[in-house]
Symmetry: C2
Subunit: 380 residues, 2 copies
Amino acid sequence: MTLDQIQTPAALIDLTRMQRNIARMQSRMDTLGVAFRPHVKTSKCVEVAQAQRDAGARGITVSTLKEAEQFFVAGFSDILYAVGMVASKLPRAMALRRAGCDLKLVVDNLEAALAVAQFGREHGETFEVWIEIDTDGHRSGVQPDEARLIDIGRALHGDDTHHGARLGGVMTHAGSSYDLNTSDALAKLAEQERAGCVHAAERLRDAGLPCDVVSVGSTPTALAAQHLDGVTEVRAGVYVFFDLVMCNVGVCTTGDLALSVLTTVIGHQVDKGWAILDAGWMAMSRDRGTSKQTNDYGYGQPCTLNGAPLDGYVLMGANQEHGILANVDHPDRDIAAHLPVGTRLLILPNHACATGAQFPAYHARSEDGEVAVWDRFYGW
Amino acid sequence: MTLDQIQTPAALIDLTRMQRNIARMQSRMDTLGVAFRPHVKTSKCVEVAQAQRDAGARGITVSTLKEAEQFFVAGFSDILYAVGMVASKLPRAMALRRAGCDLKLVVDNLEAALAVAQFGREHGETFEVWIEIDTDGHRSGVQPDEARLIDIGRALHGDDTHHGARLGGVMTHAGSSYDLNTSDALAKLAEQERAGCVHAAERLRDAGLPCDVVSVGSTPTALAAQHLDGVTEVRAGVYVFFDLVMCNVGVCTTGDLALSVLTTVIGHQVDKGWAILDAGWMAMSRDRGTSKQTNDYGYGQPCTLNGAPLDGYVLMGANQEHGILANVDHPDRDIAAHLPVGTRLLILPNHACATGAQFPAYHARSEDGEVAVWDRFYGW
């Protein structure tokens, strides 16, 4: 299959860029001396995760139990489910472990820790659980100095072999890194993320509890960290494709973006300088992550089919199946001549995780122009 | 199946409310004396469309050829594909027509009209095409008074039986109605939508061209129209579920909202008054349609399981699989006691079309509490 045979809209992966992104991150992790556990929520695609593993990744991170199930069936066993566990999801987690999946769970509160241990005891299962640490205040987690960190650790660590849970380590995610845009600020946050998580691990160890794993990461902090002393592994997801939000954060350029949406011009409003595309928000997603950043790309950056950005033009509006492309500062009254009906374009997305999720499959294009269809899944 | 057996997050349909919404719209259309062609892009679910047909709808509107294919297989034949046609999609449209589907196409430019007619002639097919009219300047369409309207009509209307296309009518969608919030403004826009589309039809007829169908509509204008003289049919989509955006527009109340996301509390940040939910933007969608309206609901309005809104609380933030629930004006430091880990809630969405699209299936709950699983599809 080649590009002109694909029905639009379609989610296109530039494999040359993807492999370069994978190599860049893995090389950085190797230099820092830590294991790398990619977050596969970005792609939800077995072929992408296999490329990450082939480059040296050890284990994967998932955001849903469905991802754990799908990737386990596809041959991945070392899986961290990085969203706080609750009692109602334990039967599904147990089924995975009993099928041979080395699934790790996460908790950030005593109720959940007790629920996991109790369910494990009742069912003769020992769940490996990591405690989520809050190192930047942006979401979940126990702060490194909170007293309850030790209580949660004790709830997870039994003295007998029938305790139902065991404390495997600590993990954190400095997601506030998405709000930054200088290398100094990113390096500072990376150190805050590292130091906070290592400190939590030390407190647990000082209390006589085991804490083998110290897991940190987000794409920006992973790339900005100067050293990772005391950390055993890093997690990152969106780096595999990168996106316009990451361009604004400053960790990539538009030439690194490996995911785009292939679209067709279906009409114009010449007086307004608009081209109407068949990629609306159903294709791009509703993500407007660049709206509060330095460069606001609307719903995406249009490019020619060879990946060159159409400077000045953005996807300025989106309805469900219609996108509005325009040069906002210099309205293009000749747009129907520049981009006639039937013209195909690529749109770089604000947020690769959100845009990819809108598609049942990727079209993966290699350097020789050949296109393969790679399925992706969704749901929970 | 009952509510407590459903894994969260899940997309829940309140069937009592949905049937009431369907009856309300159909009754209004019956009173106005027009046919009703619901837009099934909102649900992409056969059972929902069947309920609309059972109530009196004639034909359906779709936003993708995949919807046309899926609904045709499910027994729907009278289908309007309401996004501008381009040459590359004609083989798929022809396959549907040859399988017996009464598929209608839409164009708003001469190039597309000529392409459809030429393809039809080359393949011995006569495509029924409607011309899209722009009655409010928000997106696509030919303005009612533009000279090219007649050119497009002539391109679609041949004198011989082997012309490849035939002009079936005109259609418009006053999507700018979503920006309004008073009944006077909505009634005025509904009249503008009606008058513009009827005027375009009259111009075509005055030029000796056929124009049987005059199709208008959006949920707000359909409900606000005082009369629809000259109109033959109305289209509307989101009314079947309604949503928070429609509440702000003023055409429904939260008690009408038939779609919600079932979620579980998975943690807290007590100092901040946050409850962390397992419904993030992957479940709610990234749609922030209420952000510029009178009431900004963040990523959604939390309710108890019986549908009562938790006044003052909103989903103030969302990561991929985490939602942050808070009372923004009056931070709730007792939130862990009010909404302990494991609590289940419903979240009303900003935009039903966007939220539904995140889920592979709906859980449809009838008045007796029984829950059925209704598949929905996605992609193009």
